[in-house]
C-alpha cells in the first residue's frame, strides 16, 4: 500500500477495460477477417495466392497457422480479459492463493506440442515440394548485380540468350517531379519471359553481393550468393505479368532492382526466344562494323543511362562512383578508360562491364563518356577496339 494516495485512483473504470477489450478483439478479428476479404491490388492485406501449386499450398499453410494462432490467442486473451474484468480488486474480490499444479503444467506443455505437430506435417510436405528441383523443362540462370538482374537461358541448342533487366521507372517519378505510374518501381526494361505450364528451374547466383530473387505470385524467393548457385523452380498455371523485388539488402539501390516475369503461352515463348536468338546473332554482326561518332553517342547515351547513371550521375557528376565530367580517366588516354570500363576497379563498386555489356555497347558508352558532360576528347572507340583490348 503506498502512502498518501487512494487506491481507487489506481483502478480503472470498467469503461476503459471495455475499450481495451474492444480494441484487442478488433485487432484479432480484423487481421484474418480483412485478410480473407483481400485480394485486390491496392491495400492488399494478405499474401497473394499466386499462380502455382506450390504457392497455393504455401497460402493454405499460412492460413492454417494463422487461424490456429488466432484461436489460441482468443482463448488466452479471453481468459485474461475475464480476469481483468471480474477479478479486480475494486470489485472487492479477495485474492486466491493457489499456485503450482503439475497436472495443469503438463497439460499446457503437451497440448501446444500436439498443435505444433499438426502444423509441422503440412509444412514438411510443402517444403519437400519446394525442394524438388528435378525434371525441370528448362533452366534459367539468374544473376544479381548491383542493381539489376541478368537472365541467361541455358539452352542446349541455338544461340544462347542473355540480357540484363533494369529498373525502367524514370528518375523524375522517383524524385516527385513527375506523376507516378501504376507500376511505379515495379517495372523493368526487359522482363524475364517464361512459358506457362512449364517447370522452370532457376539457378540463382550473384556477381557482387548477396541479392534475393523474389516473385510473390510465383512463390519463389531464393538468395543469390556470389560464387554459389542456389536452385529453385516454378510452374506457372496462368498467363500474366508478375512483379517482385530484390529481397536482400544489397547496397544503395536495393529498393530499385525489381523483377518482372511475363508468363506467356508456349507458342509465344518459342516466338520470343527465336526473336531473341536472332537479335543475338545481329549483335554479332554489329561487332564487325564501324560506327560514326553520332551513332556511337546515341547508343552510348542509352547504355550510359541504363548502366552507369546510377553511380556516375545523370550529368556525369558522380555519386557512388567518381565524376565522369572532367575525370582524368575519361579525358586521359584511351587505354586507361577501356581498362576501367572492361575490367572495373577491384574492391570498389566499379564493376567489370566487359562481361556484362557486348562490345558494341561498351564501345558506345566509352565513346559517350569521352564526349559528353563537357568532356571533349573527340576520339571514338569501335567495337573492334574493345574486342582487341579484351584479347590483350
Amino acid at each position: 500500500m503506498f502512502s498518501g494516495l487512494e487506491l481507487e485512483n489506481y483502478s480503472m473504470s470498467l469503461n476503459t477495460f471495455k475499450r481495451l477489450l474492444a480494441f484487442a478483439a478488433g485487432v484479432l478479428v480484423t487481421l484474418p477477417g480483412l485478410a480473407l476479404a483481400a485480394g485486390g491490388e491496392k491495400n492488399a492485406l494478405n499474401m497473394p495466392v499466386g499462380v502455382t501449386d506450390v504457392g497455393r499450398s504455401i497460402f493454405d499453410l499460412h492460413m492454417i497457422i494463422l487461424w490456429i494462432c488466432v484461436a489460441i490467442g482468443a482463448l488466452v486473451f479471453g481468459v485474461m480479459f475475464y480476469s481483468i474484468i471480474y477479478h479486480r480488486k475494486s470489485r472487492g474480490v479477495k485474492p486466491a492463493q493457489f499456485h503450482e499444479s503439475t497436472k495443469v503444467e503438463i497439460a499446457w506443455t503437451v497440448v501446444p506440442f500436439l498443435i505444433l505437430i499438426t502444423m509441422a506435417v503440412p509444412a514438411t510436405s510443402t517444403l519437400l515440394d519446394i525442394y524438388d528441383f528435378d525434371d525441370a523443362d528448362m533452366d534459367v540462370l539468374v544473376t544479381g548485380y548491383q542493381w539489376k538482374w541478368k537472365y541467361e537461358y541455358l539452352a542446349e541448342d541455338g544461340e544462347s540468350v542473355a540480357f540484363f533487366s533494369n529498373l525502367s521507372t524514370p528518375q523524375a517519378e522517383i524524385y516527385n517531379t513527375d506523376g507516378k505510374n501504376e507500376n511505379y518501381l515495379l517495372e523493368v526494361d526487359e522482363p524475364l519471359v517464361i512459358p506457362v505450364d512449364t517447370k522452370v528451374r532457376f539457378l540463382v547466383t550473384a556477381n557482387d553481393v548477396i541479392h534475393s530473387w523474389w516473385v510473390p505470385e510465383l512463390a519463389v524467393k531464393k538468395d543469390a550468393i556470389p560464387g554459389f548457385i542456389n536452385e529453385t523452380w516454378t510452374r506457372a498455371n496462368e498467363i500474366g505479368t508478375y512483379r517482385g523485388q530484390c529481397a536482400e539488402l544489397c547496397g544503395k539501390d536495393h529498393g530499385f532492382m525489381p523483377i518482372v516475369v511475363e508468363v506467356v503461352s508456349k507458342e509465344d515463348y518459342a516466338a520470343w526466344l527465336g526473336e531473341k536468338q536472332e537479335q543475338a546473332a545481329k549483335v554479332k554482326e554489329l561487332m564487325a562494323q564501324t560506327f560514326s561518332l553520332e551513332e556511337l553517342m546515341a547508343r552510348g547515351k542509352a547504355v550510359y543511362e541504363r548502366n552507369c547513371l546510377a553511380c556516375h550521375g545523370a550529368r556525369g557528376e558522380g555519386g557512388v562512383g567518381t565524376a565522369i565530367a572532367g575525370s582524368p580517366i575519361a579525358t586521359g588516354e584511351l587505354g586507361g578508360h577501356l581498362e576501367i570500363g572492361i575490367n572495373g576497379v577491384a574492391g570498389t563498386a566499379m564493376q567489370a562491364f566487359g562481361g556484362q555489356l557486348n562490345d558494341v555497347d561498351l564501345a558506345a558508352v566509352i565513346t559517350y563518356q569521352r564526349n559528353a558532360f563537357g568532356n571533349n576528347m573527340g576520339d571514338l572507340v569501335q567495337p573492334i577496339d574493345v574486342f582487341n583490348y579484351k584479347q590483350g
Binding site: K42, N43, L45, I174
Partner: protein, 526 residues
C-alpha cells in the same frame, strides 16, 4: 578502507569513479534512454522517408545508414544496457548482497559503452558514411563492398562485446556467490533467474560475434577469404556465425523482460506466481533451444533440405516453453485481486502484444511459409512486436514499478496511464499495418515503395510519430518525479510486491545489505 557508511562522493567524480551498483545502474539506465532517443530519432527519419512513395528527405544510401544504425543503436545501445542497468540496481538488492561481486570491473563495463557509441555515431561523418549493410551486416556487402567506416564499426562491436561479457561475468559471479544465507537458487526472484540465464547466454555468444567481426576485419584489410567463394570461403558462413550469436541475442533481449513481468504481475494480482519452478525450467529450456535454431533466419540461403527441416522443428519447439510462461502469467492473474497501476498496464500490454509477436514468430518459423515472409515487412512487424511491445514495454513497466523505490518519490499516475494508452494505441497503429504490407510483398530495408503500399505506410508513419512523442511524456514524467515527485515513505511501495528490495528504506540508501538479511526459511520463493 571498505567503509560503507558515507554516502556518494560529490560532483562528477562520483559517477566517473564509482563502484556502487546503484550509481552504475543509474548510469546504465540514463545512457540507454539516451540511446533509445537516438535510435528513435533514426527510426523517425526512416518513417518520415517512408511516409509517402517517392524519395523526399534522404538519399537511398543515407536511408540504409539510418536503418543500420537504428537497429544497432536500439539493440546494443538501448535495450541491452537498459536491462543491465536494471540488473545492477536490483540484483544485489533482491538477493541481499552488499554490491556486485566485482565493483570496479562493473564500472569499467559501463564506461566503455559511451565512447563506443560515440565512435559509432562518428562514422556518420566519415567518407562514405556510416555502416549501411543492416544491423545484421551480411558479408560481402559489409566487408569488401563497404567503406572505411566498417573498421571503426568492427572495433565498436568488439568493445560492446567486452562490455557485455564483463558485465555478464559480474552478474553470474554476483548471483552464484553473493546470495544472502538462506537465499537458495530456487528462492531467488525470477528476475534474478532470468538474468542469470541471460548472462550465461551473453558470455556464450558475444565472443562468437567478436569472432565474426574479426573475420570481417581480416577479409577487409588482410586479404583472407572467409567470405569469398573465390578463395574457398562462403558469404553464408558469415550468416551462420552471425545468427549463432543473433538468435540467442533476441532471447538476451527478452528474458530479462520476462523476469520483470514475472515480478510485476504477481504484485498487482496480489497473488503468488502460479508456477515458479516451471517458469525457471521454461527459461532454461528457451535458453537451451536458442542455441540450435539460428538458421531459421536463413531459410532462403539455400541450405540442404535436412538442415531446413531440423531448424524448423527446433524453432517451433520454442513456442512450448514460451507458452508455459504466457499461461503462467495469465493463471497468476486468474482470481487475483487486480489493480491497474501504470506498471501493470504496461505488463498487460506486454502480455497481449508479445504474444501476438510470438505468434508471428511461430508463423515465420514454418520454413515454406517463410519463403514468402522472409525479408518482408512481416518480419519487421514481428520483431517490433516482440522487441518494442515486449522489451521496451516491460522496461517501461520496470521503471514505473521501481522508480519510487529508487528515488523515494511517486510518479504522476495520470500521466503514466496516459503514456500507456498513447503508447499502446500508437504502437499498434505503427506496426500492425506492417503485417499487411509485408504479406502483400513489401521488402524491408527499402527507401521507396510501389503505390499499393502507400496508405498503410502513411498510417504506420503517423503511428510512429505519435509513439515517439509519447516517449517524451515518459521522459518528462520521470524527471518530474525525481525533481518534484510526491515523497513515498513506505518501504513497501506497492502493497502486493514481494522481495528483499522492498524491505530496505525508501528511497533505497546508498549502501544496502552490508549485513546480510535474515531469510525466512518458510518463504517459498521471492
Amino acid at each position: 578502507m571498505g567503509d560503507h557508511h558515507h554516502g556518494p562522493a560529490k560532483g562528477l567524480s562520483r559517477w566517473l569513479f564509482t563502484t556502487n551498483h546503484k550509481d552504475i545502474g543509474t548510469m546504465y539506465l540514463w545512457f540507454s534512454f539516451a540511446m533509445f532517443l537516438l535510435g528513435g530519432t533514426f527510426a523517425m527519419i526512416i518513417r518520415a522517408e517512408l511516409f509517402q512513395p517517392g524519395m523526399q528527405l534522404v538519399e537511398p544510401a543515407f536511408f540504409n545508414q539510418m536503418t543500420t544504425l537504428h537497429g544497432l543503436v536500439m539493440v546494443f545501445g538501448a535495450i541491452m544496457p537498459s536491462f543491465v542497468g536494471l540488473a545492477n540496481w536490483l540484483i544485489p538488492m533482491m538477493i541481499g548482497a552488499p554490491d556486485m561481486a566485482l565493483p570496479r570491473l562493473n564500472n569499467w563495463s559501463f564506461w566503455i559503452l559511451p565512447p563506443a557509441f560515440l565512435l559509432l555515431a562518428s562514422t556518420l561523418f566519415m567518407e562514405g558514411g556510416a555502416p549501411a549493410a543492416g544491423w545484421t551486416f551480411y558479408a560481402p556487402l559489409s566487408t569488401t563492398y563497404a567503406g572505411p567506416s566498417v573498421t571503426i564499426f568492427i572495433f565498436c562491436i568488439h568493445i560492446l562485446g567486452v562490455s557485455s561479457i564483463m558485465g555478464s561475468i559480474n552478474i553470474i559471479a554476483t548471483v552464484m556467490n553473493m546470495r544472502a544465507p538462506g537465499m537458495s537458487y530456487m528462492k531467488m526472484p525470477l528476475f534474478v533467474w532470468t538474468w542469470l540465464i541471460t548472462a550465461f547466454l551473453l558470455v556464450a555468444v558475444m565472443p562468437v560475434l567478436a569472432g565474426a567481426v574479426t573475420m570481417m576485419l581480416m577479409d577487409v584489410h588482410f586479404g583472407t577469404s572467409f567470405f569469398s567463394a573465390a578463395g574457398g570461403g562462403d558469404p553464408v558462413l558469415f550468416q551462420h556465425i552471425f545468427w549463432f550469436f543473433g538468435h540467442p541475442e533476441v532471447y538476451i533481449i527478452i528474458l530479462p523482460a520476462f523476469g520483470v513481468v514475472s515480478q510485476i504481475i504477481p504484485a498487482f494480482s496480489r497473488k503468488p506466481l502460479f508456477g515458479y519452478d516451471s517458469m525457471v525450467y521454461a527459461t532454461a529450456a528457451i535458453a537451451f533451444l536458442s542455441f540450435i535454431v539460428w538458421a531459421h533466419h536463413m531459410y532462403t540461403v539455400g541450405m540442404p533440405v535436412a538442415g531446413e527441416l531440423f531448424f524448423m522443428y527446433a524453432t517451433m519447439l520454442i513456442a512450448v516453453p514460451t507458452g508455459v510462461k504466457v499461461f503462467n502469467w495469465i493463471t497468476t492473474m486468474w482470481r487475483g485481486a487486480l489493480t491497474f497501476e501504470t506498471p501493470m498496464l504496461f505488463c498487460i500490454g506486454f502480455l497481449v502484444l508479445f504474444t501476438i509477436g510470438g505468434f508471428t514468430g511461430l508463423m515465420l518459423s514454418i520454413a515454406p511459409a517463410d519463403f514468402q515472409y522472409h525479408d518482408s515487412y512481416f518480419v519487421v512487424a514481428h520483431f517490433h512486436y516482440v522487441m518494442v511491445a515486449g522489451a521496451v514495454f516491460s522496461m517501461t513497466a520496470a521503471v514505473y514499478f521501481w522508480l519510487p523505490k529508487w528515488c523515494g518519490k511517486m510518479y504522476n499516475e495520470t500521466m503514466g496511464k496516459t503514456h500507456f494508452w498513447i503508447s499502446f494505441i500508437a504502437f499498434n497503429v505503427t506496426f500492425f499495418p506492417q503485417h499487411f504490407v509485408g504479406l502483400a510483398g513489401m521488402p524491408r530495408r527499402i527507401p521507396d515503395y510501389s503505390l499499393q503500399f502507400a496508405d498503410f505506410n502513411m498510417m504506420s508513419s503517423i503511428g510512429a510519430f505519435v509513439y515517439g512523442a509519447s516517449q517524451l511524456l515518459f521522459l518528462y514524467n520521470v524527471i518530474a518525479t525525481i525533481v518534484a515527485g510526491k515523497p513515498v515513505s513506505d518501504d513497501k511501495v506497492w502493497d502486493g510486491a514481494e522481495g528483499l528490495e522492498w524491505t530496505v528504506a525508501t528511497p533505497a540508501p546508498y549502501h544496502t545489505f552490508e549485513v546480510p538479511p535474515k531469510i525466512d526459511p518458510a518463504h517459498a520463493h521471492f
